[in-house]
Symmetry: C2
DNA sequence: CGGGCGTGCTTGACACTGTCAAGGCGCTCG
DNA sequence: CGAGCGCCTTGACAGTGTCAAGCACGCCCG
């Protein structure tokens, strides 16, 4: 390649590739620069240091995350429970298939407040889950919000699934069908 | 201090202090060494590099984590639901009060398999939760285990609480009482 | 048409990290 | 008394993020 038309986008692409191939720890300013074929300090001119690069990549990650949930939902028909189950399946699928991105997004202490683009992407992803929960009544006796309940449940499942500490030694498919059981306790409004 | 009686323990203490004061990113071989008053390479002789030091500290963390849950349980009387709610309160309290340790334990890709001491400490902590779940029936229609459900729920709540992304702007106490609501759906066997 | 000048990237340096090799000190045991 | 070994130090190296300085190209304006 003779010239880089948009180095910023190229650096983000390089970062996404590194994240998929070698995980969050390998996501480095210099590694992105090398993969994009530029000098080691080039990324600093497009992002505010490493935190900025991570924030930019995380914003893309949130968009892909939301897209995964929406794609599952689109195949689920119109029934509210089937839609919510599909959304949660998308949540878990994304975490399993893109562990690097998932880690970056959720437990790498992103500067959400400082980056409007990032926080908007995060809100958009959350909105998918929220919308899926809307048809259901609050859970339990008090007025705990349904989305807080479902989000905690599914996020815990995804996180612990990545940490690989779920009872059994694993048949490599840690049984996603428990989704229906998990959400079976919800009742429509 | 004239001499270090047990440098290994001193290094772990230094690491715990750094973790509390400055978080997981500041937990460094050299920082621990400096805090313990020894040369920068001393930790490498007591632990297998940085992963080894983190594993040793994480093992202590798991023990404290279990102790926190047990302490709450001890104040809860004998009723099974009150005991489980107390255990979960201990889980959340630990995550809130020791975010550095919690991060180290759960999302820093610990080498669980390589370290018997570490994995035993982790199992012991899990056992507290498991025992608290034993009196309850599986949730939902299928045979999803109660502890997987409760663990996912409470771990997701703790993790998302740390990531500070729960709806409201926060009155600094993100309302732990929803615990009773969360667990209200469980039924005794 | 030409000169200033600013954006975008490079180069080079610095402090910091983990890791390793070599060495020294002191204790214990033969 | 001397040899050996455990524990720690010293020094070096590659890698990291970050910053200052500088180069080079293209644009604008006279």
């Amino acid at each position: 390649m003779t010239q880089t038309p948009d180095l910023r986008a190229a650096l983000i692409d390089a970062g996404l590739a590194i994240l998929e191939e070698r995980g969050l720890a390998a996501l480095t300013l210099r590694a992105c620069a090398a993969r994009a074929g530029v000098s080691h300090a080039a990324p600093a001119h497009h992002f505010a240091g490493l935190p900025g690069l991570r924030a930019a990549i995380a914003a893309i990650g949130f968009r892909r995350f939301a897209a995964e949930m929406l794609a599952e939902r689109a195949r689920a028909g119109e029934e509210p429970r089937a839609r919510l189950v599909a959304i949660c399946r998308g949540y878990l699928t994304f975490a399993e298939r893109h562990p690097g991105l998932f880690h970056l997004i959720f437990n790498s202490s992103l500067p959400m407040a400082d980056d409007p683009e990032l926080s908007e992407a995060g809100d958009a992803a959350f909105e998918v889950l929220r919308e899926g929960c809307a048809p259901f009544a609050p859970v339990g006796d008090t007025a705990m919000s349904t989305e807080a309940f479902v989000w905690s449940l599914i996020h815990g499942r995804a996180t612990l699934g990545l940490a690989c500490r779920f009872g059994e030694p694993e048949p490599h498919r840690p049984e996603p069908p428990d989704l229906a059981a998990m959400l079976g306790i919800l009742t429509l409004r």
